[in-house]
Amino acid sequence: MKLSKKTPLNKVHHELKARMIDFAGWELPVWYTSILAEHRAVRSGAGMFDVSDMGRVWVSGRKAGSFLDEILTKPAQRLELGSSQLCLLCLEDGGILDDLWVYRLGADRYLLVWNANNVEQKLDWLLRWAGSDPDVIIEDRTRDTVMLAVQGPDVSQLENLKGVSHLPRFDHTQTRIGDIDVFAARTGYTGEDGFEIISDAANALPLWESFIRQGVKPCGLGARDSLRLEAGMLLYGQDLDISTNPFEAGLGWLVELDNGDFIGKSALLKIKRQGVRYKLIGFQMKGREIARSGYKIFKSAQEGGRVTSGGYAPTLGVNIGLGYVLTELATIGTDIEIMIRNKPVAAQVVNKQFYKRGAQNEPQRI
C-alpha cells in the first residue's frame, strides 16, 4: 500500500471536514461544503484552492534557458523576465509527457509548474537530458513549498493581493503578503481572473488563514475540475496523455515548429504533415444525462470516439464534455450520440470554450 502524500495544509482540510480523496498520489479535498457552491464562489467572488500537489521545479544555471529550449515545445529563453507561458513536454515520438507553465524568474532562472501525475518520470526525463552538465541545476521543491490558487472576479480587490493587482495576465513577481514572502503569478486554471501563489511550506497556514479572514472560500478538486471543464481547459491524465499528440488535442498553438530544434520536433513535423485521425472536441448534451470519462461516442450507430471529461456545467445549467472523435465528426454543429449505460444519448459538437469570462455565457443553442 502506498500512502498518499500530504500537502502543508492537510490538517486544515481535515479541520474543515473536507471530503478527502487521493488525487495523483496526494490526499486532497474534493469538496468542503458543496462542489456547486464552491464553483459559484469562484465564478462570482473569490475562491481558494490548495494546489500544492502541482510539481514545482526550479531550473537554473548558465545553460538553463538553452536546456529548456531543447525539451519544451516553445522557447523559454524568449520569455521576458517576469512573464510566463504554457507549453508542452513531449517525448521523441511527439506524445505529450505533460503540459506545464514556465515562469522566467531571472536571466538564468526559471520555474516550471506541472501536473501531479508521472512526477518521477518527468524528473527523470529532465535529468536525463540535462546529463551531468554543471550549468543546469534542477531543483524539485514541491515538498518544501506550498501553492495556493486564489481565483475569481473579486480577487484583485482583496487586501492580500492589492499590491499585485497591477500585474498583467501571466506575469509574476516576488512580493509580500503581510510579512510573508511569496511568489505571485496572475495565472490559473478556472477561466477567471486569479493568482497562483507559492511560498515556503512553513508559511502555508498563516497564508491560508489570511485569505480566509478576507472572505475567500476554500474550494476543492471537484470545483477545480468543473471550473476548468467549463472553461474548456484540458486535464492531463484525462484529456491528454503520452499517447495523445498536440495536434489531435488542439494544442498546436503550443508547439513552435519554425524555431530551433527540440525533443519531439521531427515527429511533430511529420504528424502535422500527415494530419490526425482524431480530434479533441467539446460537446453539449441535449438532455439531462451526464457523459463521463471513458464513455463511447457514436455517429449513426458507428463508433467514432470516446469521452475524456464530462460533467455538469454549473454556470450554464447543462451537461458538457470533452472527447476525441474522428476528424470528420469534429465540426461544430455535428450531432453525435454518447453511449450512456448501453443507451445512445443525443449530444452535439460545440465550441469547447463553454464558458468565457465576461461573455453572456448561456448554453449553446443546439
Binding site: 481535515h14 471536514k17 473536507a18 471530503r19 478527502m20 474534493v30 469538496w31 458543496s34 462542489i35 456547486l36 471537484g222 468543473s226 439531462r288 444525462e289 451526464i290 463521463r292 460533467g311 455538469y312 454549473p314 451537461n319 449505460r341
Partner: protein, 133 residues
C-alpha cells in the same frame, strides 16, 4: 437523525411503510452526504415491476454516478417529480421532500429483514469512523 419508522438497506436506501402495503423509498442522509450535489435522477417508469435489491435507477452527482437499488419488491406507483425537476431536494431533505419512488409492495414481509434505524445509525457511525471527513 435517521427516522425511527423507516427501514434501511446496507446500500443506504430507506423505505417508509405506508398503509395498504405501500411504501416510499429514497436514499439516506449518509448516502446524499457521500454523493455530494445531485444533479440528475434516472428513475423507473410507473407500472414497472421491481424485485428486492434490483437496480432500479441511477443517481448522478456532480462528481460521480451511483446506482439505486430497491429495498423491496413491488410495482412502481409513482416517482417524485419534484426530485426529478430539482434533484438538490434529495440533498436538502433526503427523508421527506426528497423521496424517490413509491411502491405497491408485493412481498411486505421483506421489510422485516431490513435494518431498523438503530442498526442503520450504527452502520453509519462505523462508516464515518472509517473514513473521517
Amino acid at each position: 437523525m435517521n427516522p425511527k419508522e423507516y427501514k434501511y438497506t446496507p446500500e443506504h436506501e430507506w423505505i417508509c411503510p405506508e398503509p395498504g402495503d405501500k411504501g416510499r423509498i429514497g436514499i439516506t442522509d449518509y448516502a446524499q452526504s457521500q454523493l455530494g450535489d445531485i444533479v440528475f435522477l434516472d428513475l423507473p417508469a410507473p407500472g414497472t415491476q421491481v424485485e428486492q435489491s434490483q437496480k432500479i435507477g441511477e443517481i448522478e452527482s456532480v462528481k460521480a454516478v451511483s446506482e439505486l437499488f430497491t429495498p423491496a419488491s413491488g410495482k412502481v406507483l409513482e416517482v417524485n417529480q419534484l426530485a426529478i425537476d430539482e434533484p438538490q431536494v434529495v440533498n436538502e431533505d433526503p427523508y421527506r421532500a426528497g423521496w424517490l419512488v413509491r411502491l405497491e409492495l408485493s412481498k411486505p414481509s421483506e421489510l422485516d429483514a431490513l435494518m431498523n434505524s438503530d442498526e442503520y445509525d450504527e452502520l453509519e457511525a462505523r462508516l464515518r469512523e472509517e473514513s473521517p471527513e
